[in-house]
């Protein structure tokens, strides 16, 4: 369970990206975060993923208050989370395979399990044939799919995706969303920030709308 209480985030330059956000996400829930460009969607997801720290308020993940967690324990919390970065953050000096290998290496998987998992993940996003190329040779959409493969390969308990379909055509977007749904079905908590109207229209899941850093609308509550 993820709980935010009076969470605000003010950046060093004084910009207030989030103010006084209260939010509870149950384990296994699937939540969409929406809002204008610059509304604070990415900031919210980064706070939950412990990539940023809140300026005030408390964030609790499965009972751990991440403001009070010891720095040494942080890595192990992060390993439970899969994050699809909006700017991909791929390693351009490693092959596609090695990029997906990274989270498994970090968690200490042995080579054989790792290889089969990586192949499975790459297959799901349609990049199995490109496993030995460098990401620089991938198209924009392929890079985004690679980032998704990296986020899901270690089967995290919480999957957070920031604009995962921005560079994908509707066919691929459908496939990727289907993948996220299947994770949700096996009990993974899924958070997706998106402004893709198609994704939001025909779905029965909770939608959280942000506007200028404030929680504006929470469909599950309505």
């Amino acid at each position: 369970m993820i709980q935010l209480r009076h969470v605000s985030k003010r950046f060093p330059d004084g910009y207030m990206a989030l103010s006084n956000v209260d939010l509870t996400i149950d384990t296994g829930e699937m939540v969409f975060v929406t809002g204008h460009s610059g509304a604070g969607k990415s900031t919210l997801l980064k706070l939950i993923a412990t990539i940023e720290r809140p300026t005030s308020g408390s964030i609790t993940i499965n009972g751990h208050n991440i403001a009070q967690i010891k720095p040494a324990a942080l890595p192990f919390l992060r390993r439970k989370i899969g994050f699809v970065f909006q700017d991909h953050k791929l390693l351009f000096d490693r092959t596609v395979f090695e990029n997906v290998l990274l989270p498994l290496q970090i968690s200490g998987f042995d080579r054989n399990t790792a290889t089969s998992r990586i192949r499975a993940a790459l297959d799901k996003v349609g990049l199995l044939s490109k496993e030995n190329v460098l990401p620089i040779t991938l198209s924009g959409g392929e890079q985004q799919r690679l980032c998704i493969a990296r986020a899901v390969v270690h089967r995290p308990a919480i999957l957070i995706a920031d604009e995962p379909t921005g560079n994908l055509d509707s066919a691929y977007a459908r496939d990727i969303m289907a993948m996220f749904f299947s994770f949700h079905q096996v009990g993974v908590t899924v958070l997706i920030a998106t402004h893709d109207a198609n994704l939001l229209e025909d779905n029965k899941h909770r939608i959280i709308a942000l506007q200028q850093g404030k929680l504006q609308n929470d469909q599950s509550m309505a």
């Binding site: 993923a49 412990t50 990539i51 940023e52 720290r53 720095p71 040494a72 890595p75 192990f76 919390l77 992060r78 390993r79 989370i81 994050f83 953050k89 390693l91 351009f92 000096d93 990274l102 989270p103 290496q105 970090i106 968690s107 200490g108 042995d110 080579r111 990296r150």
Partner: protein, 303 residues
């Protein structure tokens, strides 16, 4: 468990080698600079280690020549001998009789004829005294004392030269000190910058690893390997440079040694010194990497 651990280290090791090879020119140049920077102090150390061998043979310890009066008797000579035995500043001495001296003159200079034509032997008896290796001032004091001994015509000590030698040695020592200071700074700076370069080009890697749950140790590992490996390579380069330079210098020294009718040459770096050198440079690289990564990891910590 241990196998996984070994596997991981082996993976990091091969990764590091791959990276060293991926930008060969930059890395070779860094290693070269490091090698040169290390080779100079290490070379000076090696040369200094060689000094005792050389200087022991050249014997630059101060000498006093005691020339006896023409009318000195055997008793006088014996007395002087006793006095020399007793003096604790005297390391050793040698008596050179006037006949010996004349014979030596003949031999040394091919003056057989000239000497034969001499009506009498104009040379005095003499003692050649090697003193302890103390400062020129003390030796000069000793010479003045000796001058007052009976039957001594003239006690000679080229104190000016000894003092000059002493001063020159000091000069050399200061020069070496200045050099060593400069080069130590250079080594640290090169080490630090090389690893900084590594980190700058791998910033995304550090950041991404950190964000998806890598421990600091995991992130540090490849850099530590890289630093250590580069330090090791720098040490090997330094060793090669020194060995090569000693080779060249030895060719030159053979000429000098010939002139002194001696047989000395500079010894290469010993087995143990080689190992210490390599261990030291490896350790230096490791340490530099650690410092460099630590400061960087701290910067991307969420706040």
């Amino acid at each position: 468990m241990i196998r996984a651990w070994l596997n991981q280290h082996w993976y990091v090791f091969t990764l590091t080698i791959k990276r060293l090879l991926s930008t060969p020119i930059t890395n070779l140049l860094s290693i070269l600079v490091m090698g040169i920077a290390i080779s100079l102090p290490a070379g000076i150390y090696t040369l200094t280690g060689n000094l005792p061998t050389v200087s022991g043979q050249i014997s630059i310890s101060p000498q006093i020549s005691l020339f006896l009066k023409q009318r000195a008797t055997q008793d006088d000579i014996d007395l002087i001998r006793t006095k020399l035995e007793e003096d604790r500043l005297v390391a050793s001495y040698q008596f050179v009789s006037k006949d010996q001296a004349l014979y030596q003159l003949q031999l040394d200079n091919g003056l057989t004829e000239a000497v034969h034509n001499l009506a009498y032997n104009p040379l005095p008896d003499a003692f050649v005294v090697d003193t302890q290796n103390v400062s020129a001032d003390i030796i000069d004091q000793l010479r003045t004392d000796m001058q007052t001994w009976p039957a001594i015509e003239y006690a000679q000590f080229d104190s000016a030269w000894a003092k000059r030698l002493e001063a020159l040695t000091n000069f050399g020592r200061v020069l070496v000190f200045v050099l060593l200071t400069l080069l130590s700074i250079a080594i640290v700076a090169v080490m630090f910058n090389t690893i900084r370069l590594q980190i700058l080009t791998r910033q995304t890697e550090i950041e991404v690893s950190k964000l998806i749950g890598a421990t600091d140790a995991f992130i540090r590992r490849p850099f530590l390997y890289f630093g250590a490996l580069q330090g090791f390579a720098g040490g090997v380069t330094a060793w090669l440079i020194i060995t090569f330079a000693l080779q060249i210098l030895n060719d030159e020294l053979r000429v000098i040694a010939g002139l002194y009718a001696m047989n000395f040459q500079l010894h290469a770096i010993g087995y143990e010194d080689t190992i210490s050198l390599l261990l030291f440079t490896t350790w230096l690289g490791w340490l530099g990497a650690r410092a460099s990564v630590a400061s960087h990891l701290w910067q991307i910590e969420p706040r």
